[in-house]
Amino acid sequence: MLRFLVRRLLMTVLVVAVTSVVAFSLVHLSGDPAAAMAGEGASPADVESVRKTYGFDRPLPEQYVTWLKRVFEGDFGRSHYLRASVAQVLADHAPITITLGALAIAFAVLLSIPLGVLAALYPNTLVDRLAVGLAVGGQAVPSFLFALLLIYIFGVTLRVLPISGSGSWAHFVLPAIALGYYATPAIMRLTRSGMLDALQSDHVRTARAYGLPAWRVIIKHALRHAMIPVVSLIAVQLGFMLGGSIVIETVFALKGVGYLAWQSIQRSDIEVIQAILLLIAAAYALLTLAADVLNGAIDPRIRVG
């Protein structure tokens, strides 16, 4: 188990490091950051002075190494646009994204797993079709459109939920549904196919033959078995919810990390972009690691392989 952990951990570090180098180069390739910061009305002299002030005149590798050194000292730098340390900026934005991501994945799990189980219990019936249809709708409808539909129904017509901002728990209901719905089809279908396999397996048949109650067979014997791949998927989807909520955060005016990333790219706020990418890559990698470990715990065969 220890070797397995160490190997996975090393992979995680490698993924994060590569992401950071690629991101750093991409930001610089996408245009002159000094020009972006100086703005449209700036004279060449203004742009030059910005370049000097922020050190963009030095060679790229040198800029990268300087940045990396400071990160190892725990200093993520400073957002030139928001006039605060990157750590402060992230501390302001991260709770919103984490809350949103957690609620969204909770919504997705609570919706898709029962649907998946239901579909597997009555395969190729109307129940199955309805369940699949409901879940696949999440993939078919673009998230911004679904979000606007939610705003129209619950915010404008019924007026029961707030439309924008993050002032209270109620503010997170619509965004969490909009974001979570997108993750349902994958989880639901994997649950369904896993359950179908599990229900036909020998040990479930044996459990049934023992005369155990149907719900116990389904939940304890079949579902537990079917959940192994689903757990990995949920972890990956959670990473996706944390890193990919730009559209939802924009539509609902939530000042989260995804929105911050998008804005920072437009402003060439390099140190913020770098920190976010590092953070998201790390979150992704750690979640995958957690899923591997969890699966290793559920199924000892994985640890060996």
């Binding site: 996408s30 009305g41 004279s43």
Partner: protein, 517 residues
């Protein structure tokens, strides 16, 4: 059993708390005007952020030496009582008595001199250099008299000192934080200081990137040409998505938004609680053509080709049908409301046949191919490209972000670009036409005669002489079809029907003039 019921009741209560609609923050009932745009505001100091939103806030919080009445366009002394040009390069202001900053300190000449002597310094980091670069020095003559020494005669000085250059108390930036700059050196972050002003509203709370709350200044000086503020609280919020802004406006969560797209404007106008109005802005859209051949030997060097391009594009159709209300087609390379912007120049009405004939004359009977660079409002650029294709000019559209386009454009590598320019809100032709034809990096005509006229116009105090010089330059620019002016941008404003606010052609909101009906 009892246990279960308690849980159910608690769950229900929690749900009810979550689902209860929030008390609306906006509206007449609590005397709070809430407005939102898509921009994130990092600082509300106009010297360090020239976003239109910050210009709007500065007009509410701060006063300037002069004031341009947004409804009439007339210049009136604001913090000044009067002004006079002592000579071509010396502008003297007598200050108004009894004006107080929000911290209670009385305004005097030291404050004015401090503010501008800080801003004019090349290392002050002020973003809109145009507004302060003309200043050589500012001197205190007496506690209520201050003199601006200009580097050269600057007729636009009165415009620069109206509305967009707030006056702060002496020592305002003393406590600006030091932050790490390049190469381990520290630098001062002046923009991080919250402005201290004399205006009709004062800052109550500022959350960078999210919101700004201003409250009425009940001590505002009585005879201000801006009048007395009426609405108690102004709240600014950032809401990135237009659809969300519209939904908030319709449901009363917001009182004022702008930049409503034409497709939403009609629908919104039909709502009974919303007023929709459009107004022009100073932003102009045009094609930059490389007549001087900076980018090499391209067809743009031929006058007939440039004229053909001008005839090929239906500016009226783009302006009215695509850009929408508030937008106007342009004939001249400036915004018509700017001082000196003559529109008495050669017009190129839409005539695709004439364009084809001119191309044939120029030696391109089958047209030609050329890259077209652009960075803003892709649909407008695509419309231009379609009109050009119709006469045989096949454009290869290269749509970039400004930060990527700026380099090649200013290094003289771009034969044809669809650009826009807002004149930084300055209502003087020196801020528009001179920007592109005075030999700067953006000048693709390099016409010595035009440059000479513009140089003279920018530094002559006599208004009539200036008008004549700008007129000559603009006429030649149009005759030679150096650039192709297309249209001015409009803005559509939508607001709470209970709000009484003038919609002005300066792309600003003057909330100090607003009242509840």
């Amino acid at each position: 059993m009892m246990n279960k019921n308690i849980w159910a009741a608690m769950a229900f209560a929690a749900g009810a708390v979550c689902l209860a609609p929030q008390a609306a923050m906006a509206g007449k009932s609590n005397d709070t005007l809430t407005w939102a745009t898509a921009s994130e505001v990092d600082t509300i100091d106009l010297y360090y952020q020239n976003l239109r939103e910050v210009v709007i806030m500065a007009h509410q919080m701060c006063d300037t030496l002069m004031h341009r009445d947004p409804r009439t366009g007339e210049y009136k002394p604001l913090l000044a009582e009067s002004f006079k040009w002592v000579d071509d390069k010396t502008l003297e202001f007598k200050l108004r008595h009894g004006v107080k900053f929000h911290n209670g300190k009385e305004l005097n000449a030291e404050d004015v001199a401090y503010t501008f002597n800080h801003a004019r310094k090349p290392d002050s980091g002020v973003v809109t250099r145009l507004l302060v670069d003309w200043i050589e020095n500012v001197e205190v003559v007496s506690p209520d008299t201050v003199r601006f020494k200009a580097k050269a005669p600057t007729p636009a000085a009165i415009e620069y000192l109206s509305g967009i250059t707030p006056v702060y108390p002496k020592g305002h930036y003393d406590n600006a934080p030091s932050v790490p700059g390049a190469a381990g050196k520290m630098r001062r972050d002046y923009g991080a200081v919250v402005p201290m002003c004399t205006g009709p509203y004062k800052v109550k709370e500022f959350k960078p990137g999210s919101s700004v709350t201003l409250v009425k200044n009940t001590d505002y000086f009585k005879d201000s040409p801006k009048g007395q503020p009426s609405i108690g609280t102004l709240v600014y919020r950032t809401i990135p998505d237009t659809e969300t802004q519209v939904a908030e406006l319709v449901t009363g969560g917001l009182d004022w938004i702008w930049g409503v797209p034409p497709e939403n404007a009609k629908q919104l106008a039909s709502m009974e609680n919303v007023t929709v109005k459009a107004a022009p802005t100073t932003r102009i859209s045009f094609l930059s053509l490389d007549a001087a051949g900076r980018s090499g030997d391209t067809p743009m060097k031929k006058q007939q080709v440039r004229e053909a391009i001008a005839y090929a594009i239906d500016r009226k159709a783009i302006s009215h049908d695509l850009v929408g209300e508030g937008s106007e087609p342009l004939v001249s390379m400036c915004y018509p409301a700017q001082f000196g912007c003559s529109t008495d120049v050669k017009d190129y009405p839409y005539n695709p046949q004439k364009a084809k004939d001119l191309l044939k004359e120029a030696g391109f009977p089958d047209g030609f191919e050329i890259p077209l660079y652009a960075y803003r409002d892709r649909p407008y650029t695509e419309a231009v490209a379609n009109y050009l294709r119709a006469v045989g000019i096949k454009t290869d559209l290269r749509f970039l972000q400004w930060k990527a386009l700026r380099g090649p454009l200013q290094e003289g590598k771009v034969a044809m670009a669809h650009l826009s320019w807002g004149s930084q809100g300055v209502l003087d032709a020196s801020a528009s036409v001179s920007n592109y034809f005075e030999g700067s990096v953006d000048d693709y005509a390099r016409d010595e005669e035009v440059k000479k006229w513009l140089d003279a116009a920018d530094s002559t105090i006599d208004p009539n002489k200036r008008k004549e010089l700008y007129g000559k330059a603009l006429k030649k620019i149009a005759d030679k079809a150096y650039f192709v002016p297309l249209f001015s941008y409009g803005r559509t404003y939508a607001f709470n029907k209970e709000l009484d606010i003038p919609v002005t052609p300066d792309e600003l909101a003057h909330f100090y003039l607003a009242k509840w009906k």
